[in-house]
Subunit: 414 residues, 2 copies
């Protein structure tokens, strides 16, 4: 698959891939400091290039990926086993919620432990096609870790800018992959701006979410896998933890491409789940506002979702609304509670920003936004091992006991 154009999400301008583009050159003059990124580009695959049938499994193979993604060919994909994660039927959670057709897409089982590996695989493949020697990114943690992992797999240098307050596990993990780590004494937004300046100064390729059009495009593989694993049935609803709005736009893009291919009847309704303490997209969906209102005081235990002005808000709002979807808001308490509840019901141990999907689904059920009989997929985006201290806030590790049956009986008695 080589033939595609960049299409501006806002003004509709089209650009050929004659260079590495970020946002729309015509729209960027409207950029407002502290607001969402304007003029985010979509990748539009040329009609004759679209597959008309599912490739042979696995969908995560270079051949299959190249059929759906904008690269020169399968050889663009270096060895990096992103995606190909299981779609679990979760029988015990089905029973608990009275939802006989519920599924869980377990994206904790990616190489670095999060959905972000999908985007990093494509972005690093494109960086190599474009001839860059270094790829940089700003991130709350998971995207930078994923970039570091993909860079290690490909043998390309990575520089990652993260708020110094990111969970220590994420910092150690990205450093272990060999990334050059820049912990910024500041917010994600400051790290973002610094990474953009550094890419301009040093000639690096910038992977930043929303800014780089291949981050949305790379994440669409999760939607392709969901649709294929459910075929010939189709999902009714997909519940997506939402921060910057890039994952949910990627999910929408994957389903939309399948509709174009004739492989799926319609895009499922997308439910954006956000923390109450970082909920600009969900609030706009609920109020009907055309645009998001930035939340400068955003701050949630779901660190991966914490952002003052979601970078990809314009595209995400458009996509969610087009799907007939909605937004829900989850309290900090409910996010933390969801971690052990999800783990105990499904054996999937998730970080706060991923376990939020369960809490969000329950709110959507209570509000009548989702019906119990629908075919619903929970996207669980990152492993709980990335943020053990948050999980520890809701489980009890008993004090050490002497090795006696009496001590065991005391623990059993609670």
């Amino acid at each position: 698959m080589t033939d595609f154009t960049f299409l501006c999400n806002e003004c509709g301008a089209r650009y050929p891939e004659d260079r590495a583009l970020y946002v729309c050159p015509s729209c960027t003059s409207q950029q407002v400091p502290g607001g969402p990124t304007r003029g985010v580009l979509r990748v539009e695959l040329a009609e004759p290039e679209l597959p008309r049938r599912w490739p042979a499994p696995p969908l995560s193979s270079p051949d299959a990926l190249a059929a759906f993604l904008p690269v020169h060919g399968p050889e663009s994909f270096f060895s990096f086993a992103a995606g190909g994660t299981p779609l679990l039927p979760v029988p015990r959670l089905r029973e608990a919620l009275g939802m006989p057709r519920l599924f869980l897409k377990d994206d904790t089982r990616n190489p670095s432990g999060s959905t972000k590996d999908r985007a990093s695989h494509l972005v690093v493949a494109k960086a190599i096609e474009y001839g860059y020697e270094t790829v940089a990114a700003a991130s709350t943690g998971n995207a930078a870790t994923a970039l570091a992992a993909a860079g290690a797999a490909a043998g390309i240098r990575t520089v990652v800018f993260v708020p110094a307050t990111a969970p220590p596990a994420k910092l150690v993990q990205m450093a272990s992959y060999g990334a050059t780590l820049v912990p910024v004494a500041g917010t994600y937004d400051q790290a973002f701006e610094l990474s953009v300046e550094a890419c301009a100064r040093f000639g690096w390729y910038n992977r930043n979410t929303a800014l780089n059009p291949f981050t949305v495009e790379g994440k669409k593989t999760a939607a392709l896998e969901i649709a294929r694993d459910l075929a010939p049935e189709a999902p009714d609803v997909v519940v997506v933890p939402t921060g910057d709005g890039v994952i949910i736009a990627g999910i929408a893009k994957g389903f939309a491409d399948l509709v174009r291919c004739g492989l799926l009847p319609r895009v499922p309704r997308l439910v954006a789940v956000q923390p109450e303490r970082s909920g600009a997209i969900a609030r706009a969906l609920r109020s009907g506002a055309a645009e998001i209102t930035p939340e400068p005081d955003a701050g949630s235990v779901a660190d991966s979702l914490t952002v003052a002005a979601p970078r990809n808000a314009v595209m995400a709002l458009k996509d969610i609304r087009a799907s007939g979807g909605c937004g829900v808001l989850v309290s900090e308490e409910a996010i933390l509670d969801a971690i052990p509840r999800l783990a105990a019901a499904t054996a999937v141990f998730a970080e706060p920003a991923a376990a939020i999907a369960l809490a969000g689904l329950e709110i959507a059920l209570a509000e009548g936004l989702v019906s119990r009989g629908e075919r619903v997929v929970l996207l669980v985006t990152g492993t709980g091992l990335k943020d053990v201290p948050s999980a520890a806030r809701r489980v009890k590790v008993p004090a050490p006991v002497s090795p006696t049956l009496e001590a065991v009986e005391a623990i059993l008695a609670g």
Copy 2:
């Protein structure tokens, strides 16, 4: 697959599956306190039951598992996506080591993050077949976490006994899955004995490694996947991090079953990699001793491999020797160094007990035990996210910097 017998690894006695057996009823009188477990049983599948061809993919599906494992049928396997992990070609590590046919089996990508999920899946399936309501285990950490995860998936109660010194991430993870956690102020061996007593007292099924014959059997699926992914070629050598000797015996059993099935020409040479500070099996292999010498002062940063007297030593020594394999010993420094080296070369972030495979391979190469042209598979058994503090000992997370290009330049200058 229902037809199998228990076969004593030492005296050769055979027993039908008319009840849940642990070790050989005839041999156990020889049990020596502080020594390895005697009379460990093997599962021997009946000849007519053996598959003669590879089942259709994926090998981790209930149908395929039931073709190779001793359960009543596919319905015994509750929904738990253990195994099915990628076999990576690791091009950059191949180049660094001059080993063009090196592969990495990435078992960090199991549901709870370790190879132990494979055994827990089978043991919990058997517990349900036998009618138990509770399954217990003693573990250095990963096996207990895996049991807790499998119990959550199946909806069966689990009780886990672990040294209170296990890495906190493992304790929090197993508690999140809903296991009843008994942190023992003592050694793994004390936790082991306590779990055996508690199972007898409370009528629980015991998953303890080596004691329960299905732990070896369950781990063999890693070997089945390696052989199938390499077919029609066959592996020459498999490098296996070794503690109790159960994983390496499981790997040997999987390959041996495939040889019986006619699906593999021979069992590959097995290289047991142990820490110098917990190396009883490797030392016996290197000295030619018939039996291991317990090491009461064992204590390594590779906590999952730390054991005074490897429980499955008798079977492991027999299997490794039968394969033409060997043992190597790795220093604490080399274990820690291997974590970022493996991550940066392959994008696989491993805990100390798993990264040791790389250090062990390099020693085996230097000692002439493995040749660079051979088809070698490194088994990487657990994710580095389970023990971030150990990884942190070998990487540098720079101090937070102000968001300026000058600060970036200072970091780049090193």
